[in-house]
Amino acid sequence: MGLSVDERWDLIDKISKETVTFGKYKHTLKDAVGELTIKPLTGIPIAIAVLYGLWSFFGSFAGFFTDGFFVSLFDEHFLPWIQSVFPDKGGWLYYIFVGDPLADNCFEAFGVLTSGLFIAIGVVLPAIIAFYLILTLLEDIGYMPRLAVLIDTILHKIGLHGYAIVPTILSLGCNVPAVTASRILETRKQRFIMMTLLAIFIPCGAQLGIMEEVIPDTMGYVLIYLLIGYFILGFILNKIIPGKSPEILIDVPPYQRPMLRNVRRKMQMRIVGFFKVAIPFVLLGCAVVNILYKGGVIDWLANVMSPLLSGWFGVPDETVGPLIAAFLRKDLAVAQLSAIPMTSYQMITSVVLVSIYFPCVATFVMILKEGWKDLLGSVAVLAAVVFLYGGLIHLIGILLGVA
C-alpha cells in the first residue's frame, strides 16, 4: 500500500495547495551571508580564513594555558614535590611513576605521574578544549555543509566527496568519534578509504597540541608530509578499491544562532569522552615504556630494528621506544621523541612515522567495531604505506642533502 515517489509528491502538492499559502519571502541578511559563504569567489577565501582562524586560535589558546600556567605549575611545584615525597628513590616503582630523579622538568622525567599527567592535563587538555570549542560553534552555526560543498571537488579526486570533510575535521580532534562519523558516507568503499586515511594520516588534537609545544619549528613540515600522504594514498585507494563513489547530495541548512546550552553540553560530552579514552592510555603508555626500558627490551629492539630504523628510515635507533608508546598514545610518543637528540630532518621523519605507523589502540578498536575485514584491509594498507612513505621521506631528505 506504499505509494511511488511521484504519487506521493502528487498527493503532497494537492494537500499543500489546500492548506498552505506562501507569502512574499523577503531575503534577509542571513540569506545574503549564506550565499556569500557558498559562492566560490567569496566562499573559498572565507573558508581559508575560517580554517586559519581555527588554527591560530588553537595555537594561541593552548599555548596560553600550557606555557602560561601548566608548565610552571608542573615544573616548579608539582615535580619537586613528588620527587621528594615519593619513596625509594632509584627503585623500580620510583622509575616507573616519577622517572628520572634529576629531571628539572616534566618532559624529561618520563614517569607516569610526572610526564604522563603533565602531557594529559597540561598540554592536551587546553588543546582539546580549544579545538572542540571552535568545531562545535562551526557545527551549530551550520557552516560545515558549506565547507563540504566548497571542498567537494578536491575530495572527489580521492573517491570521497565534500561531506567527508566532517569526519576529517572531527578526526583532527580525535580519531575515535571520526571513525563513527565516517558512516555519513554512502558506500563501503568510501567508508574504507575514509577510515584508512584518517587512521594513517590525520594527527589528533592531542598530537597537534604536543607538537605545537615541543617541535613548533618543524611541525609545519610534518603536517605538509601528512597532507601530501593523505591525498596520494586517497588517490591510489580510489583507483584500486572496487566499489562505487557516489557524489555529494546534502542539504545546506540556513545559518542558526548556536544555542549556548547545546554548545556547552556537546563540548562537555566530547571532552569527557576524549579523556575517558586518553588518560588511561597515556598513563599506561608511560608505565609500559618505562618497564620495557628498565627490562632492557627497548635496547634490544633498537638493535634488532636498526637496519630498518637508521638504514631505511634514517632515524636514530632510540626512536623504537616512542614507536612502541605510539601504539597506545601518539601524544606521549611525540613527547618522548622530542627528548632524543637528532637532526631536525630526522625529527620530521620520526614524527611523521609515529603519526602514520599505527592508529592508536582506541582508534584500532573503533575500526574493529565497524568490521574486522575492513580493519585487516586498513592494517595491510598501513604496513605498506609506512614502509614506502617512510623510505620516500628519507630519500627526499638525502636528495635535499639534509638527511
Binding site: 500500500m1 492548506t19 555519513i184 556537546k266
Partner: protein, 173 residues
Amino acid sequence: MKVLLMGHPNVGKSVFFNRLTGSNAIESNYPGTTVDYTKGYMLLENKDVEVIDVPGIFSLEPKDRAEEVSVKMLEEEKDAIVVCVFDASKIERGLYLALEIIEKGYPVIIALNMWDVATDKNIAIDVKNLEKILGVPVIATTAISGEGIAEVVSRIGEASPVKIRNIIKNAGD
C-alpha cells in the same frame, strides 16, 4: 509503548525532545557523529513512557549508513507512536517523510515546529484543514519557546494508523 521522534536534521528536534522529557539531549547537525540516538522518559497518563530521539533523516530510503541506523530504529519498534517534527517553513519536504511513515502503518502525530520561522517567512498553514485531510493530529509548535509542546503531549493518545487511501480521498482534487 514507545514514542519515536522523527524528522529532518536541523529542525530543533533535540530541543523538542528536551521539552518532552525534561532531559538534556544534544542537537547534532549530522547523525552518527556524537551519539547514535538519545533516549528519555516522559509522563503520559501517569505512566513513564520511553521517548527516542531518532537521528534526522530526509526519507525512509536510506542513502548512507547513518540514515540506515535511523530507519532500522523505526522498523524495530513496530508498536511505536511516531511524533514527526518538521520545519513548518519546509512543510512539503516534511510531509514527504510523514507520508512515508504513515504508509508503513505507524500511528503518527505531526508537530509543525519552528512555527515562528514560518510566520516570519509569511507562510500560512491551515492546521485544522491539514489535520482533517491527513486524519492525524497536527500541532503548530515552537520548541525553543515551548509553545505547543503541552498540546502535543495531551494529544499523543489520539494518534492512530491511517489508510493512505483515505488521505487521497480527503485531499480531493
